[in-house]
Symmetry: C2
Subunit: 344 residues, 2 copies
């Protein structure tokens, strides 16, 4: 086998959900967009439903349709991008709840599916999705009359607890929604950690479920083991990989491992990254290629059959630091070729 094994610990996932749920006095949903942050939305959502989650969020209607197949009837499936042109049949047939983002979407929904469930997304300063204060003021009474199941907004800077944008968005959200008799939601993972003022009636954790920052106490969910294809001796002065970017300075043993940027291992992290062969930390050398990576295993006690890229020694966020990005991107880039093994 020359494909890596991605092990997904569903117990860790559900324990993260329970821990985040225990931090609030309100209901806790689960965000499973982008195929469950790259880990498999079907398995992830079923595990969370068994743990007690009753509301799920996805980015697009197509994701909601696939999720409904996995979950069956019952749990509410909310769609952040709302009611887009062409989505009416899917929304109706699969009982999805679009978060309406604009007057356009509102008119489309009320006209095509009168009486069908919907939520409202408000923009409180991120300027990405949702209705602006002046738009909302104009349509608010009509919208409320139609009975939304949720009014939500999204924080732009929740990963930074000290950012003045957080209380600003909170104040705007309150101003736009105080006094309305509709459940409200403002917090994703970062927002939960900001404290009770941000919790309202429903929280929507995503990355924290999957073991990523900013939820530092999260239990790691993912392990990634990559098989070794071949080991060779490399003499001092010899080069390894594309464009000869690494040159051996000592007699070295080099393992070629079977994963690359086509598996979502960001090519740019090549110069910074390490793997573990057992307990030995081994440097990734040369350029990350499409399907292979070179590793200096000179210091390993024996030639490994596989090496660990994500696991007990280094996390999704460790890789993110090497790649100059965030753990979210490492997760959602997890490759289609990996063999996915679910522990539960």
């Amino acid at each position: 086998m020359a494909t890596a094994t991605l092990t997904i610990d569903l117990n860790a996932l559900t324990s993260n959900w329970r821990a985040l749920d225990a931090m609030t006095a309100c209901e806790t949903a689960a965000v499973v967009k982008a195929d469950g942050y790259g880990l498999g939305a079907d398995r992830v959502a079923r595990a969370l439903a068994n743990a007690g989650a009753r509301k799920f969020f996805v980015a697009a209607t197509e994701e909601g349709a696939a999720l409904r197949q996995a979950l069956g009837p019952g749990p509410e499936i909310c769609v952040f991008s709302g009611h887009m042109a062409g989505d009416t049949d899917m929304i109706s047939d699969l009982q999805l709840t679009p978060m309406l983002n604009s007057l356009d979407q509102m008119l489309r929904h009320f006209e095509a599916l009168p009486g069908a469930p919907f939520g409202i997304q408000l923009d409180t300063g991120m300027n990405r999705l949702g209705m602006e204060p002046h738009e909302w003021a104009a349509v608010r009474d009509i919208a409320i009359e139609q009975g939304p199941t949720l009014i939500m907004s999204h924080l732009a800077c929740a990963d930074d607890p000290e950012h003045p944008m957080n209380p600003h968005q909170l104040a705007v959200f309150r101003e736009m929604t105080d006094g309305l008799d509709v459940p409200r939601s403002l917090a994703a993972t970062g927002g939960i950690l900001l404290g009770p003022d941000y919790h309202f009636d429903l929280t929507r954790p995503g990355v924290g479920l999957y073991g990523g920052m900013p939820y530092v106490e999260a239990t790691p969910v993912v392990t990634l083991d990559i098989p070794v294809i071949q080991v060779r001796e490399v003499a001092p002065g010899e080069t390894v990989g594309y464009s000869n970017t690494w040159t051996a300075e000592r007699p070295s043993r080099v393992a070629t491992i079977a994963a690359g940027y086509a598996d979502g291992l960001i090519r740019g992290m090549g110069g910074e990254a390490w793997v573990h062969a057992g307990e030995t930390r081994c440097k990734i050398i040369g350029r990350i290629s499409m399907d292979m990576i070179g590793v200096d295993i000179t210091d390993a006690t024996s030639d490994p059959a596989s090496v660990e890229l994500i696991g007990q020694h280094q996390s999704v966020d460790t890789l993110a630091d090497w790649a100059g990005t965030i753990g979210y991107e490492i997760l959602t880039s997890m490759g289609a070729r990996y063999y996915r093994r679910y522990k539960s």
Copy 2:
């Protein structure tokens, strides 16, 4: 619909294959690893088989197995990672041809599947896959006696025609293989462009088929159109996206489009990238999020229903430049959520 459309022009693909084939006097295979460089190995390989390709290369046995289902019996399917432990049944049942990289793999193959087809991969200086000169000298007679279908190696610096590594690897390859009565292959896309000395009996183009550098004359294969979810007015001083990284300097119109780094749009290119709304070039603003990107459409003549990220105005390699990477990574990162439309 809130998912982007990736249009794959199979005529452009096959015309690239024919053009690369016409540059040599030898046979031309096709590399379709990493799911056909992200474009769908099944459709890509079937189109190339119809155009005349009889040999295909993949990275791993699992990819070869899937490709055999798509192609049916007949075309040869070669596996770069060779005969790995656990792969014997797949190799045998699906008639795959492993490129044996080491003595270990050779013993495994000859013992488990005597008489079954195989190739040999030699290392000529990249130190990634294949047998070293001294190993090869030791086993060469035994290997040749078993009748390999191909002897191959891979160039480390072929994208740079002036690199001294190219003639060095060529000389090593000749030294290791001259006088043997076995078909030989050294060149991928870059190697084809280096000229006839590098062509031998078979070339193995990959990225050039898919419209990427270093084959500058390639016909573009890929178009990526991303739908607009919502358009809003943003006043001077207002910020857009996560961490408030973009601030409007003029009264602006901002579109939120439905793709993000979970679709393989590398987060790091956020600060550099553009899209086209019709003929108007529009800047991507703020951070690329998981499922959404903000675009300044102030200069567009009207609000677009979708924008073009890859197409006639900007290529896979344009995006690669913005992201500080190579077109190969842009291609193989193409997201699973895209609706893939094949033109033929």
